[in-house]
């Protein structure tokens, strides 16, 4: 199915569907996430049974601050759909989808590691890529890039995040 047809089919169940750049995106509420994903997986015309990736985006100052993004793929029909769930700054919690898609295990751990989003019900929510005792969630926009300032002969080159160009 093309993105537009996919969007039509999904709109029957949930109205917040957008098609941009040839890709269909669905926004759901936290409470209906598992239900919608199960429906997307089991509906015979959609069969979105392969979870490619789970990640998050961060926009401080916006409401909700975080969006958790799921990329779904259907091997049978060869189409893709993106599902987004909002997570607020005060309570960045989202239910885990490892029950539906076991592959989400490590992806959710990585999202927790980078953004601090807690996945309720995850069997093993620990840091995966950063050292276990790391403090902070580096991919948040409010965190610095880090690295080193160089001083040479009186000149000062700030780290990358503070350079003007």
């Amino acid at each position: 199915m093309t993105a537009a047809q996919l969007a039509e089919r999904v709109r029957a169940r949930s109205s917040d569907v957008v098609v941009q750049r040839g890709e269909a995106m669905l926004v759901v509420e936290r409470d209906e996430l598992l239900e919608v994903l199960a429906w997307l997986r089991d509906d015979p015309e959609l069969r979105l049974d392969f979870l490619s990736s789970v990640t998050a985006t961060d926009r401080p100052g916006h409401e909700p601050r975080f969006w958790v993004v799921y990329e779904l793929y259907s091997g049978e029909h060869r189409h893709r759909l993106r599902v987004k769930v909002g997570a607020t700054e005060e309570a960045p919690r989202v239910p885990t989808v490892t029950g539906l898609f076991p592959t989400a295990d490590w992806h959710e751990r990585e999202t927790y590691d980078f953004y601090g989003i807690v996945f309720d019900g995850h069997p093993n929510l620990r840091r995966i890529l950063l050292p276990d005792d790391w403090e902070g969630f580096p991919l948040r926009k409010t965190e610095e890039l880090g690295g080193v300032n160089t001083r040479y002969h009186g000149a000062f080159i700030p780290p990358v995040d503070r350079r003007t160009s």
């Binding site: 950063l130 050292p131 790391w134 580096p138 965190e143 610095e144 890039l145 880090g146 690295g147 080193v148 780290p159 990358v160």
Partner: protein
């Protein structure tokens, strides 16, 4: 690091001690030279390939740019059996303690080549995740820049290290 002083073998680097050794006689200085020659002749690297530079290091050991010419194709897995550590690739913060542990497990004398810009200074990754130069963790003898350095560049670095070992005697 305290080292047992073996008779006639040069273990220090200072000019004073060098002079003392010269005074000890021609036979002993020949022994120094022989020992230094033996040390550089077949240095065994420990496998410490991390990222892209590791592939170039493997290519240097392979047929086209043969490291076997200098007796170094045998990358020992155990640091106890190696005398050279080529830190090939970017060292993340999680890997840094492992690097230090492996370095500590190597017996004296040992040398370190920092291969690639990521190992030498953090490379293009000036960020939270990469150690900005392994010389903050282990003492480095030779820095080989490049991203990744061509096998010829690594070989040049290795040959410079051989010269350093041969002429300077004992290196900590």
């Amino acid at each position: 690091m305290p080292v047992e002083r073996l008779e006639g073998v040069q273990t220090g680097r200072s000019g004073e001690q060098g002079e003392e050794e010269v005074k000890r006689g021609v036979l002993l200085s020949r022994l120094d030279k022989a020992v230094s020659w033996a040390r550089k002749q077949s240095m065994w690297p420990v496998t410490f390939g991390l990222a892209c530079c590791a592939i170039e290091m493997m290519a240097t050991g392979a047929a086209d740019y043969d490291l076997s010419r200098w007796g170094m194709e045998l990358f020992r897995a155990s640091p106890r059996q190696a005398d050279l550590m080529i830190v090939a690739g970017r060292v993340s913060q999680k890997m840094a303690p492992v690097l230090r542990t492996v370095y500590d497990q190597m017996p004296e004398p040992k040398w370190v080549i920092s291969m690639g810009v990521c190992a030498s200074s953090g490379g293009m990754f000036t960020n939270y995740a990469i150690v900005q130069g392994v010389d903050t963790i282990v003492p480095v003898d030779i820095y080989v820049p490049g991203c990744p350095p061509k096998p010829e560049m690594l070989m040049y670095g290795i040959l410079r290290l051989h010269e350093k070992v041969r002429t300077e005697g004992r290196v900590t």
